[in-house]
């Protein structure tokens, strides 16, 4: 122990620089990530040390003070008699705490929701090891915390420094994430880049029944990943008002996730196509670097910050085999056996951001700030070939209708117009704001912000080997089932001269300018009104609208003495409109824009209906109301409540129509003495969202009128309209109780969560349904079965003190849940449905799990 401390101290002291006067303090809250260190056993990372001191806070009065808003501060924890000199005659004192013991998990311990982000495991666990050493004479300190539930759920955190001068922080942590604990992948090689079919299945040559027979024998697996993060940071007030800091965080993310695998649609063509739920590997390394300088003077404040992020994917692709044969709908049987699929996984990328902020204090308690930032996101990964097939793909009908393609012309990177992605987006930010408070009663602020994302990616899908444009859709499967739908455009070949396909990357970007101004007015000692107006002018590139304006008015009222209560009431109104809506802004990136494109006699099939308004760009009227009340009850209790309602109405004939949100939460906290505390909370939230859509009339896609995008036209008849309605309701309740009986302390916690979701639908006529479902129109009802998520968690613990040094904690955590989601309904019986293969059965419909822990507490 002493050695360890001495080592830590050496680190601290070695790093110590001869400092100057300083106002340095941490800027953690300005950096993204790794702020919190805890786990499911103790989310605060502090709980064993948070038991209140029975003496309370003051000899002068009972109870605790309240925050300015009226919430009671918790009683200070008992830590008084723990510090001891580190060694004889040392200025350093230390205190420490160790909690170590045995956890036993029983019941459905693999339930997804029980271990979503927690590596529960039966065995020895380190609840908390905390060590604090400080030198009151020099202001130096060393703090360490660590906890370990299992090998993939642990953290260790070290902080050391000298108050106001420098600080070193370091950490190592593993965070688990269970994506599915109920997965039955068909393939071998899960977690690698190659998914192969187990014997006796044959790629492209097995029947659904054969696949199903094998699927039923596959073992249950857990799909998930672990984030292994380590970081180091240093902050130093190195000269006068100047502080510098640097931090580096490295993450290795390993595991796998559920993924997909298309071999063309199966629903319209029974015993054809393929929709495969595969598993992809996760093998990422991300290194984030942040460094900067700041000068905090009495008049000027300046900061300069560089952030860099470097992502490396060690598994660039996913290859998978499909067991199913594809059948061309016309023509002679296909000559290439399309049974191999491939995904490009995320490319490596680099990110740099340089930001400078300058503020000047003004008279009238004012401040003027200017900020500028420049950033760039780049990646230049080698591109994979368009397909991995061999032989000849596509369909041969006749010599004049030869819709085949030679895989050899496409399964090589020589088929590409460029070998690497060369993708890049540059970002720029300029921000200026001014705040003035000419009197304590009145404040005014205004700001202007300009932000741009300039996407410089330029990719042309041109195959120099064939002189064709476009790509091979769905691994070649689409063109091998439907003649001509390979995905290629060729102005020299009448078979492909009218084919509409994407031939260029679309460099989406935008420029967003926001002006805002507002006033704060303190009407009376405890009443404040504030009013803010903002105008947001967004200019997206290559989107349906070139200009989207949103104006917003916020009105806030804060009453800090409404009776005993604090009330914060906010109302917000926003109105969004913009320029003309172009339902097909992507034409420049499609073959239709290339020279040689021949518009067919019937015209091109309309891209979509012109009545569609995408909800991120559509007109919108928004109202928001939010109220927060904090009401002190006597000297020992607080009631608090929030209520809110949001209403959004979108200007769209087709697309998202409206959303509604409303809810309330109430809570009651009571701390009659340091020995007892109790809290209860209850909440409900309701939300709804409705949207409309219109099914195209498939009969018209080869007939006159197919180029008509109008709602109510032949392609998008009113009779094919339908509406989807989502309703969700959430109930939450919780209860906590803590009591210190002296030698025994008890704590009880209960959490209740019940979420209900229902998707309803209405439709004008069966024309809205897929052709395949139209025969069942009478049975389709008007809603999907309700989804629900219902969890009860009860925790009961006792801390027993044996001596000043030793004690123990015994606790039990019992969790039970039930779950339903129609996405998985019916999969329990069969993971293979015609040419569809599913891997994930979804979260357990019912589970109960129990965790018992017996821990030894040692005060060091």
């Amino acid at each position: 122990m002493r050695k360890m401390l001495a080592a830590s101290l050496t680190i601290a002291i070695t790093a110590s620089l001869v400092g100057s006067r300083a106002l340095a303090d941490s800027s953690d809250s300005a950096r993204v990530g790794d702020i919190q260190y805890g786990n499911a056993l103790d989310p605060t990372g502090w709980a064993p040390l948070a038991w209140p001191d029975p003496r309370g806070f003051s000899w002068l009065h009972a109870g605790m003070m309240r925050t300015p808003s009226g919430v009671l501060y918790p009683y200070p924890p008992q830590r008084d008699e723990q510090s001891s000199p580190l060694y004889r005659n040392s200025d350093w004192v230390y205190s420490g705490f160790l909690q170590i013991g045995y956890l036993h998990v029983g019941g459905d311990t693999h339930a997804e929701f029980f271990r979503q982000y927690t590596g529960w495991k039966s065995g020895i666990a380190l609840g908390l090891f905390a060590l604090y050493a400080d030198n009151p004479k020099t202001g130096q300190y060393v703090e360490f915390r660590g906890s370990r539930l299992s090998g993939d759920d642990q953290y260790y955190r070290l902080r050391a420094g000298q108050y106001g001068k420098y600080k070193i922080e370091g950490f190592y942590r593993d965070i688990p994430h269970a994506v599915s604990t109920n997965a039955y992948p068909l393939w071998n090689g899960v977690g690698s880049t190659n998914l192969t079919l187990p014997a006796p299945l044959v790629p492209g040559g097995s029947t659904p029944a054969e696949v199903a027979a094998v699927a039923n024998t596959r073992p249950r697996q857990t799909i998930g990943l672990t984030r292994q993060r380590a970081g180091l940071s240093f902050e130093d007030n190195f000269y006068r008002d100047w502080t510098g800091y640097v931090s580096i965080v490295n993450e290795q993310r390993s595991g796998d996730r559920l993924w997909g695998g298309p071999m063309f649609l199966n629903y319209i063509l029974r015993d054809n196509g393929g929709a495969l739920e595969t598993v992809r590997p996760i093998d990422f390394t991300t290194t984030n670097v942040s460094m900067g300088l700041r000068d905090v003077g009495t008049v000027w404040q300046f900061q300069l910050n560089y952030t860099g992020s470097f992502f490396r994917n060690h598994k660039d692709e996913l290859n998978y085999q499909s067991p199913f044969a594809l059948t061309n709908v016309v023509g002679v049987p296909q000559v290439a056996n399309i049974q191999q699929g491939q995904f490009s996984l995320e490319p490596d990328n680099d990110y740099h951001n340089l930001r400078a902020e300058l503020s000047r204090s003004l008279k009238w308690n004012g401040q003027f700030s200017l900020a500028a930032a420049w950033g760039t996101m780049r990646q230049n990964d080698p591109l994979l070939p368009p397909v991995t097939c061999t032989g000849t793909g596509g369909i041969f009908i006749s010599p004049s209708a030869d819709y085949t393609f030679n895989c050899a012309n496409w399964n090589t990177t020589a088929a590409l117009s460029q070998q690497t992605a060369n993708a890049r987006i540059d970002t720029g930010l300029l921000d200026a704001r001014i705040t003035l408070h000419p009197s304590p009663k009145f404040g005014w602020h205004a700001g202007l912000r300009w932000y741009r994302e300039d996407n410089k990616t330029n990719y042309l899908a041109f195959n120099p080997l064939t002189g064709q444009y476009g790509y091979i859709a769905e691994n070649g499967s689409q063109g091998s089932i439907i003649p001509g739908q390979i995905g290629i455009f060729d102005p020299r070949n009448p078979l492909y001269a009218s084919y509409v396909t994407q031939v260029r990357a679309i460099p989406f970007g935008y420029t967003d300018t926001v002006f805002d101004t507002g006033i704060d007015w303190r009407v009376s000692e405890n009443n404040t009104l504030n009013l803010t107006y903002s105008f947001d002018r967004d200019q997206p590139k290559y989107r349906e609208r070139k200009l989207v304006n949103e104006q917003r008015i916020k009105l806030g009222w804060v009453d800090r003495a409404l009776g005993k209560a604090t009330l914060r009431l906010d109302y917000e109104f926003a109105y969004r409109n913009g320029g003309p809506y172009n339902y097909d802004p992507y034409a420049p990136f499609y073959s239709t824009s290339l020279p040689g494109f021949v518009t067919p006699p019937l015209g091109n099939v309309a891209f979509t209906t012109d009545a569609m308004r995408k909800y991120d760009l559509s007109n919108r009227i928004e109202h928001k109301l939010h109220a927060t009340l904090i009401y002190p009850i006597g000297d020992t209790a607080t009631f608090s409540a929030i209520a809110y309602a949001t209403r959004d109405d979108y200007g769209a004939a087709i697309g998202r129509q409206a959303t509604r949100n409303r809810g309330f939460d109430v809570s009651w906290d009571w701390q009659p003495s340091p020995m007892t505390s109790m809290s209860a909370n209850l909440g409900r939230a309701d939300s709804s969202l409705d949207f409309t859509n219109v099914a195209d009339n498939e009969d018209v896609t080869g007939a006159p009128g197919r180029d008509n995008p109008s709602l109510g036209g032949p392609l998008f008849p009113l009779a094919n309209q339908w509406q989807g309605l989502d309703h969700e309701r959430d109930y939450n309740a919780g209860l906590t109780f803590r009591r210190d009986f002296g030698r025994v302390r008890a704590d009880l916690g209960y959490t209740y969560t019940y979420a209900l979701g229902r998707i309803g639908y209405v439709f004008a006529s069966p024309g809205a349904l897929p052709i395949t479902q139209q025969p069942f129109v009478d049975g389709v009802g008007n809603a999907f079965p309700d989804n629900h998520y219902h969890i009860n968690t009860l925790q009961l613990g006792f801390d027993i003190t044996f001596s000043r040094t030793f004690g123990m904690r015994v606790f039990d955590l019992f969790e039970t849940g039930s779950f339903a989601d129609w996405h998985y309904l019916g999969l329990q019986d069969n993971l293979v449905i015609d040419h569809r293969i599913y891997t994930d059965l979804g979260p357990q419909p019912h589970y109960s799990a129990n965790l018992v822990g017996v821990m030894l507490n040692v005060k060091l």
Partner: protein, 230 residues
């Protein structure tokens, strides 16, 4: 699975029961006065019990010797909590403890009411405002870390004068003693007890312990003298 769950729950319940069974520790007498409400006893009933007290504290609540405190005009609640402290051992005194142990709670209230109702001793003589005692009492001595006594005991030593406008958590003002007219030797002895940490059995004592810790012998003497002139 279910069996395992039940088994673990059973095991944990057994362990928890054991935990509850651990005996609670005995506590050292300590009177927490922070939530003490003002008390009102029966003055007449108290008078009937006051005979024993009169031996030292005088029939009119003015002590027969200056080493004993004057009780007349003292805060009723203060008198009560002191009797209670003697009774439960939070305040030690070879004479008072045995006497207090014979009293019921009602007796203590009534006695307190009785003595509180008696007129306090008028100031013996007037102290100079510029005296060291007066300065300590009214201004404290920041260099030494001595806060002004008047903050809690009132500018005239006649007890605190809480500001009705304050909504902050308040001390149990009624448990703070009136100092005016107190006997200097008694006050000195108490200051010494606070200073030495021998009178620390109540939450108020903890405050006085902190205050007296910074007083030296001369300070305590001049303060005791000054208080007796109020």
């Amino acid at each position: 699975m279910i069996f395992t769950t039940r088994a673990t729950i059973g095991a944990s319940i057994a362990l928890l029961a054991m935990a509850v069974g651990v005996a609670l520790a005995a506590t050292v007498p300590f009177d927490d006065l922070r939530e003490q409400a003002p008390l009102h006893g029966d003055t007449a009933a108290g008078a009937t019990k006051a005979a024993v007290c009169a031996a030292c504290h005088g029939a009119n609540g003015i002590a027969v010797a200056a080493t004993f405190p004057n009780l007349a005009g003292q805060s009723q609640t203060y008198l009560y909590v002191q009797l209670r402290a003697f009774k439960d051992g939070a305040r030690t005194n070879a004479v008072m403890q045995p006497l207090a142990r014979t009293l019921t709670d009602a007796d203590m209230r009534n006695l307190a009411a009785h003595f509180a109702s008696l007129p306090g001793r008028p100031a013996a003589h007037t102290a100079q405002a510029t005296s060291r005692g007066s300065i300590l009492f009214h201004d404290g001595d920041a260099a030494r870390g001595v806060p002004p006594c008047q903050g809690c005991h009132g500018v005239d030593g006649r007890g605190p004068h809480p500001d009705a406008a304050s909504t902050a958590p308040q001390p149990a003002w009624s448990t703070f003693p009136v100092l005016a007219g107190q006997n200097a030797p008694y006050v000195l002895a108490q200051l010494q007890a606070y200073h030495d940490g021998t009178r620390i059995g109540t939450s108020n004592d903890k405050v006085m312990q902190g205050v007296a810790h910074n007083l030296d012998a001369a300070d305590m003497q001049v303060l005791a003298d000054y208080v007796s002139t109020l």
